[in-house]
């Protein structure tokens, strides 16, 4: 699904990723944990195609194609989804307008006819229930005035509607209460499939209590320094990042 080899990336001249390797197969759930400043968000930004980040070395292959050559919208249409840690607000653009544009962009890539507003409304209804949002939110501007939890639910709704092949969730648990965390777990677990993979970026183990990963990686100083299963997360819980380094 995703093959990253010796990835190096910088922002404003400062190199953050310093030779990162990662291999995610179809159907797998990977978790990357790391201290602040280790490069977790940089990784997600580079994968999404944020032009502010400069790739200085390495390769990334997604579904057999060179990801780094693609524009952000091409990566998304190809099945890559990033759930943002801090989703941006977009005044003046309603959620339904935005979701319709996103879904129809996906459908165009699949040579399917576009959905109209009514079809879109029908399609979103199930998703809205699953993420515990009210239908009224569809008329509100994207993420404007949303609580942190609502923003995360909006990310999950988009993920449900777009049905990506690879879902990258950047700190999906940050700022969430127990109930909201359960929703994240339910949605992700409900979407697990043989042809879909997940990359969970997180500080804490608690998300992994709801979504059991196949592989856990520790990222420090821009490199993956340890890989394993849940036992690695448990060890991290006991010793902390410094203890692990020691």
């Amino acid at each position: 699904m995703l093959k990253i080899e010796n990835l190096r990336a910088a922002i404003e001249g400062k190199e953050i990723l310093q030779g990162l390797d990662l291999n995610i197969r179809p159907g797998e759930v990977h978790a990357i944990m790391g201290p602040n400043g280790s490069g977790k968000s940089t990784l997600t930004r580079v994968l999404s195609g944020d032009p502010r980040y400069e790739v200085t070395g390495g390769q990334v292959e997604f579904l057999g194609r060179n990801l780094l050559e693609q524009e952000p919208e091409q990566r998304a249409r190809g099945g890559l989804f990033l759930s943002y840690q801090y989703p941006v607000a977009i005044p003046g653009v309603s959620n339904i307008q935005f979701l319709k544009a996103a879904v129809n962009a996906q459908r165009e890539a699949q040579n399917l006819p576009p959905m109209d507003a009514l079809q879109m409304l029908e399609r979103t209804r199930d998703g809205i229930k699953q993420v515990n949002l009210d239908e009224s939110f569809l008329q509100r501007p994207v993420n404007e005035g949303f609580s942190g939890g609502e923003k995360k639910r909006n990310e999950l709704l988009q993920m449900l509607l777009l049905q990506p092949h690879l879902c990258v969730l950047d700190e999906a648990d940050s700022g969430l209460d127990i109930d909201a965390l359960k929703v994240v777990g339910e949605v992700v677990n409900g979407m697990r499939a043989a042809n879909r993979s997940f990359l969970l970026i997180t500080h804490y183990r608690r998300l992994l209590d709801h979504i059991t990963p196949d592989h856990v990686h520790i990222l420090t100083a821009g490199k993956i320094v340890a890989s394993g299963g849940m036992e690695l997360a448990e060890q991290l819980e006991r010793s902390g990042y410094r203890g692990l380094a020691a």
Binding site: S48, I90, G92
Partner: protein
């Protein structure tokens, strides 16, 4: 000899000829003559006046006069041109500045105004019976034209029309006034609107042009007298031709508890736009509880010059003015939003807000945003602000990471940005018309540079 002086001299004989025409009654000739005197003292609008700082109208008029006559165009007989995409309502058509609907011209309102014909009327100002309109005449006589453009139009316009909404009347359907330019030349129009106490109405003035209009000059003056408790929703929509020069001025006197809600929209027509639009809005809140709410949106592109100026004066207590303009400028265009809210001494409880938010979509575009406050009272709640920026990179990326291509993402963001400049008129169809005008304006914008 400066440009302003030479073109004022060109206007001189035209104005004198107009004032000497016999068709105006004495009181109306007096009103026009007073405007002529003020114009001779103040000169034509141009950069020497602070309120016209960004639009060299005197120079533009001189340049126009080198290619065309400044004399008002003549009416075209049986011109049935109709502007496209107008909202439903009571339609009045002006072509080249002249009222084109003969039935209305002869005060046969039944077909045009239908069931609401008893609520309002349109008549030539010259036909007004002074003995029955002392208050209106007093207003005309006392009105200090603060904009020399209004004085120029008053002295030169072939026709002045008076739209009166009767006391207590609630006009349900919008009154839609289409001003169409269908040939080259100078088109001048003047409309006075009088809402008597307790009256309410919605008025749309739509300025457009056919491709045949070519290079034209439109001088348009609209003045409102809003009596106690009257309410007017007014939309001024400019979709001028590619080579049009539109100089517009709107003035309003608001009485006690009167309300004026304004929607200003610019969405010019035609490819390779070079047109210039300058709209000045002057509102005087003369008594307690008056309200002036203005929302506007424009998308300047190519080599357009779009200038919106507001002057709002609070002379009564507990008045409210709230202006919000959203603007885009792309390619080599220029957008301007400026003006002032003035609050007089010894007034109480006035609120004044003036904001201008703008996006630059090109390195060659220019925006000038200068909203001001001039406050002489202690008990006020006022704010003003201006922003000029570019599209938010995070917002753009967010949409792209959902598969929306860059061009469509820019369109969504710019549409969303401009929507903040839309007014809720309370009429769904009219709101849709505003939205449509906005989208038309966006379509002509080329988006940001690659």
């Amino acid at each position: 000899m400066g440009a302003a002086q030479s073109v004022l001299e060109l206007y001189g004989p035209l104005i004198n000829a107009r004032l000497q025409q016999g068709r105006d009654p004495a009181w109306l000739r007096q009103w026009r003559a007073a405007a002529q005197q003020r114009l001779e003292q103040s000169g034509l609008p141009g950069k020497h006046r602070e309120s016209w700082h960004y639009s060299a109208a005197d120079l533009w008029l001189q340049q126009f006069s080198e290619r065309h006559s400044l004399a008002p165009s003549l009416p075209v007989a049986d011109d049935v041109s109709v502007a496209a995409d107008l909202p439903d309502g009571h339609l009045l058509r002006f072509v080249q500045g002249y009222l084109a609907d003969q039935q209305v011209r002869h005060e046969q309102h039944d077909e045009t105004f239908g069931e609401e014909r008893d609520k309002f009327s349109l008549q030539a100002l010259a036909q007004l019976d002074p003995s029955q309109s002392a208050e209106l005449l007093a207003w005309l006589a006392a009105s200090e034209q603060t904009d020399p453009l209004a004085d120029l139009i008053t002295t030169l316009t072939p026709e002045t029309w008076l739209l009166t909404v009767k006391a207590g009347a609630q006009v349900e359907n919008p009154i839609v006034i289409s001003h169409l330019a269908s040939q080259q030349g100078c088109h001048i129009g003047q409309l006075l609107v009088w809402l008597q106490p307790g009256a309410s109405a919605t008025l749309v003035e739509d300025f457009s042009a056919t491709p045949a209009a070519g290079e034209y000059l439109a001088l348009a003056h609209t003045a409102f007298k809003l009596e106690q408790g009257s309410r007017l929703t007014y939309a001024r929509s400019n979709r001028d031709g590619a080579d049009g020069l539109h100089l517009g001025v709107t003035a309003a006197d608001l009485g006690r508890d009167a309300q004026l809600r304004l929607q200003a929209l610019e969405s010019g027509m035609g490819a390779q736009l070079r047109n210039r639009v300058r709209n000045g809005f002057h509102a005087r809140l003369t008594q307690t509880g008056a309200e002036f709410i203005a929302r506007g949106a424009f998308a300047a592109d190519n080599r357009q010059h779009i200038d919106y100026h507001f002057t709002v004066e609070h002379y009564g207590d507990y008045g409210r003015s709230d202006i919000q303009m959203q603007g885009l400028a792309g390619a080599k265009s220029r957008g301007i939003v400026n003006g002032r809210i003035y609050i007089a001494q010894d007034t109480r409880g006035n609120d004044g807000h003036f904001t201008s938010h703008n996006l630059l979509l090109s390195a060659d575009a220019e925006i000038d945003a200068k909203p001001e406050l001039e406050i002489y009272a202690d008990e006020v709640k006022c704010a003003h602000g201006a922003t000029v920026g570019q599209l938010d990179a995070d917002q753009l990326l967010y949409l792209q990471t959902r598969g929306i291509d860059r061009e469509e993402a820019i369109a969504l963001l710019t549409e969303g940005f401009l929507k903040a400049g839309l007014l809720d008129s309370g009429n769904d169809e009219l709101n849709q018309y505003f939205q449509q005008r906005l989208l038309t304006g966006l379509k002509k914008s080329g988006g940001i540079e690659a």
